[in-house]
């Protein structure tokens, strides 16, 4: 026993200072995770190199780790379901992570879905805002607590159903995207709120970011599979989750039209379905050469058989970039074009 303990501690000491890494390490967004892992696996098989380790830490957590420094103890890639923020970019720079390559890999659609047996609906973003915001403007444009209980109170064309929407909790990146893509736009459809945006941007943000807590919106946890299961059981409810889950569970559930467009591969890809966000991977160029396989990995990711319209990532639910953007991404990957400060918002 003592000997074993000794061996372990010796190992720990020996391992810490000079640990030569021959395996790519990737951190970041849980939304990008299913795609990056698929690429990692394909990369491992194709090259015979060690399969990269992909950690799901969330976009923010990923950047935190990514930007901590250059060296074997820091990851080589970070997945992100949004573009890097200025503050993150600056932290990176401060820690010596100066050469970052940003590669857009595709889109993720957000869907408002219901059980397959539910009636077809067509929501506008404004209607969704009215259904889910904590406070909505009344006839005079004054903010009041959300009074709507039924969909048809919002608009007579909507079904006479209780408003019941299952969605992710505030900690989720999907939730962030949802409020940005739907709620903000929905709020702007009101004149009074549009005016407010100009006068007091902070207060406006408070309005569209606040989701009602009176039971109409149910925080169903981070696990989208769970929401799918609940929708199957309850045809009156709607759920919010990523497009890949909709696709995988086709037949059980279906996506509602938003602004007249139903979510599908094509509509997201050609940007006619508006509730979609771009996904990125960020590479640490300074590691290229030290950690083997980085260039090959990026090449695999941007290759047609992965990212293309018929690629395996599409099978996994990633919505491919339009041809021009795909070409640009492949160029960036090939040249390892680093991100400059002026490109970061």
């Amino acid at each position: 026993m003592t000997r074993l303990l000794f061996a372990v501690s010796a190992l720990a000491i020996a391992a810490s200072p000079a640990f030569a890494r021959d395996q790519i390490r990737i951190v970041g967004s849980s939304t990008v995770y299913p795609f990056t892992t698929a690429v990692a696996e394909a990369f491992g098989k194709a090259t015979g190199m060690k399969t990269p380790v992909v950690e799901s830490t969330g976009t923010g957590g990923g950047f935190k780790l990514f930007c901590e420094g250059v060296g074997e103890n820091f990851p080589d890639f970070s997945n992100a379901s949004r573009a890097i923020k200025k503050s993150e970019f600056e932290t990176c720079a401060k820690n010596g992570v100066t050469d970052i390559v940003e590669i857009k890999v595709g889109f993720d659609g957000l869907t408002v879905a219901s059980a397959a047996s539910a009636p077809d609906v067509n929501f506008t973003k404004q209607q969704i805002f009215m259904a889910l915001a904590k406070q909505v403007p009344d006839k005079d444009g004054k903010l009041v607590d959300n009074p709507y209980k039924m969909w048809n109170e919002i608009d007579p064309s909507l079904p006479a159903q209780k408003i019941e929407v299952l969605g992710p909790p505030p900690t989720s990146g999907t939730r962030d995207s949802f409020v940005e893509l739907v709620m903000e736009k929905g709020a702007e459809a009101f004149d009074s709120l549009k005016a407010m945006k100009k006068e007091d941007a902070k207060a406006f943000e408070g309005v569209w970011k606040s989701i009602r807590t009176d039971g109409a919106y149910v925080e169903a946890g981070e696990n989208d599979n769970l929401i799918v299961q609940k929708l199957e059981a309850n045809p009156n409810a709607y759920g919010i989750f990523g497009f890949s889950f909709l696709e995988e569970n086709e037949g059980k559930i279906k996506g509602a039209k938003i602004e007249g467009v139903a979510p599908s591969f094509e509509t997201v890809s050609d940007a006619s379905y508006k509730v979609a966000r771009p996904l990125f991977i960020y590479a640490k160029k300074q590691h290229v050469g030290t950690v083997p396989g980085m260039a090959e990995f990026v090449a695999e990711y941007t290759s047609g058989k992965a990212m293309g319209d018929e690629g395996y990532l599409a099978d996994k639910g990633l919505i491919p970039l339009p041809a021009d953007q795909a070409g640009a991404a492949a160029d960036v990957a090939k040249n390892m074009t680093t991100l400059t400060a002026d490109k970061v918002m």
Binding site: V8, A12, F19, T37, E55, S56, N223, N225, N249
Partner: protein
């Protein structure tokens, strides 16, 4: 008479109490059974898998004998499948037909050829993995992944006897994968074993030493009281805190490699240390003082009395406590989140410093993936984890019974 009535009332109360107890046990058992049954039913599809047995011509044009690794084995396999359906000719249909194959369909063939390069140029009959959608369809589950034509092809293959059903060894022998039909728990299982070895190697000696010192040698003063209270409190600290501690200390200060069983074991050792100390102290305390006195009485020193007599007698109790503590560690996910063990790792770890994940984390990861087939893999992994935990608890009970002494 009234006395008699009182007696009757008393018996009635006793019967009622018994009924409540039985009801409570019944409800608990029912819930547990329901849970396990539910998981077991969900897990069923994982344990069996459909494979097509195809005869593949290893075309030397596609497989270079000089460099067999780089050959397009998948292409060969696809060709072999196409040979089954000569009427499928259009490019789109061929693509749809290939869609029933797994991304790892050619893995078996590749292994055979790599092991025996003389096969190049010959016909080889190998099992070919189908993709998870096809497998689910053949098992009778509804799936949206397949078109009606694909379903028809599968039915045809089934009729021809090309498709057979077998035990899903893949699930036990493979590492993680993004393809559900290829994903296995071997990596997580080995990761768990390695992690627990580190945990045990660290927590057991440290815990026992601490317990021995506190119980037998430490002076009783405010300092030891404070230490004791803190150890007891530590046992109740949420496990994620240990993850944060591990991140701050082991990763950032000592630079232990991330995502490895070494750092996972270190963190879990911290987690179970209080449990082991408390259990060990209880075990040491339960050794009758008369045994120690007897040893002191024949002139053993305090240390001899403790190490020759008290500790050996406490070992069953210590082991029981340790096993229960380790079983808890085995089921932990939260602290590992912080130190990067929640990761997609394909390669089965070979040592304490290889990137690895553990069983509960595998459950956590798979449960979040969109593919239907991963849901059943999740359930199967839960079953496996439960089995391991049962085994641990059974071992604890066995040890307790085996070494239980009366004095």
């Amino acid at each position: 008479m009234s006395n008699n009535a009182l007696v009757k009332k008393r018996y009635a109360a006793e019967r009622r109490f018994k009924a409540y107890g039985l009801a409570a046990i019944g409800v608990t058992t029912a819930f547990l059974l329901f849970l396990i049954l539910d998981i077991a039913i969900k897990a069923m599809p994982t344990f069996f898998v459909h494979e097509a047995t195809l005869t593949v011509n290893v075309d030397p044009a596609l497989i270079d004998a000089a460099n067999p690794v780089a050959g397009d084995y998948l292409g060969l396999t696809k060709k072999a499948l196409a040979a089954q359906f000569p009427d499928v000719t259009s490019r789109g249909d061929r693509k749809a037909l290939n869609g029933i194959l797994s991304a790892g369909a050619a893995d078996g063939l590749q292994q055979r050829v790599l092991a025996d390069p003389s096969l190049i140029g010959k016909d080889v009959t190998v099992p070919v993995a189908l993709n998870s959608g096809a497998d689910l369809y053949l098992k009778g589950y509804a799936t949206a992944q397949l078109s009606d034509r694909q379903k028809a092809w599968l039915d045809a293959l089934l009729e021809k006897g090309v498709i057979s059903k077998g035990f899903a060894w893949n699930f036990l022998l493979n590492g993680d994968s993004r393809e559900p039909e290829l994903a296995g728990i071997k990596g997580a299982l080995i990761g768990s074993v390695l992690t627990i070895i580190v945990t045990l190697a660290l927590a057991l000696p440290l815990g026992v030493a601490a317990a021995l010192y506190l119980e037998e040698f430490a002076p009783k003063n405010w300092l030891t009281d404070v230490i004791e209270i803190n150890i007891n409190n530590l046992a109740a600290v949420p496990s994620i805190i240990f993850g944060l501690l591990g991140l701050a200390v082991f990763l950032n200060i000592f630079g232990v490699p991330r995502s490895t069983p070494l750092v996972g074991g270190l963190v879990l050792a911290l987690l179970v240390l209080p449990t082991i100390i408390i259990a060990s102290r209880a075990a040491l305390k339960s050794v009758p003082p008369s045994i120690k006195e007897a040893a002191l009485g024949v002139g053993a020193s305090h240390q001899q009395a403790v190490f020759h007599h008290v500790l050996p007698l406490a070992i069953p109790g210590i082991l029981t406590g340790t096993i229960l503590g380790v079983a808890r560690a085995l089921g932990e996910t939260a602290p590992l989140l912080m130190i990067g063990m929640i990761a997609f790792i394909v390669d089965v770890p070979k040592g304490f410093t290889d990137a690895a994940t553990v069983l509960p984390v595998q459950v956590f990861l798979w449960s979040d993936l969109p593919e239907q087939a991963f849901q059943s893999r999740t359930a199967a992994t839960i079953i496996l984890l439960l089995l391991v935990l049962f085994a641990f608890n059974a071992l604890a009970i066995y040890l307790r019974k085996r070494f239980e002494r009366r004095w």
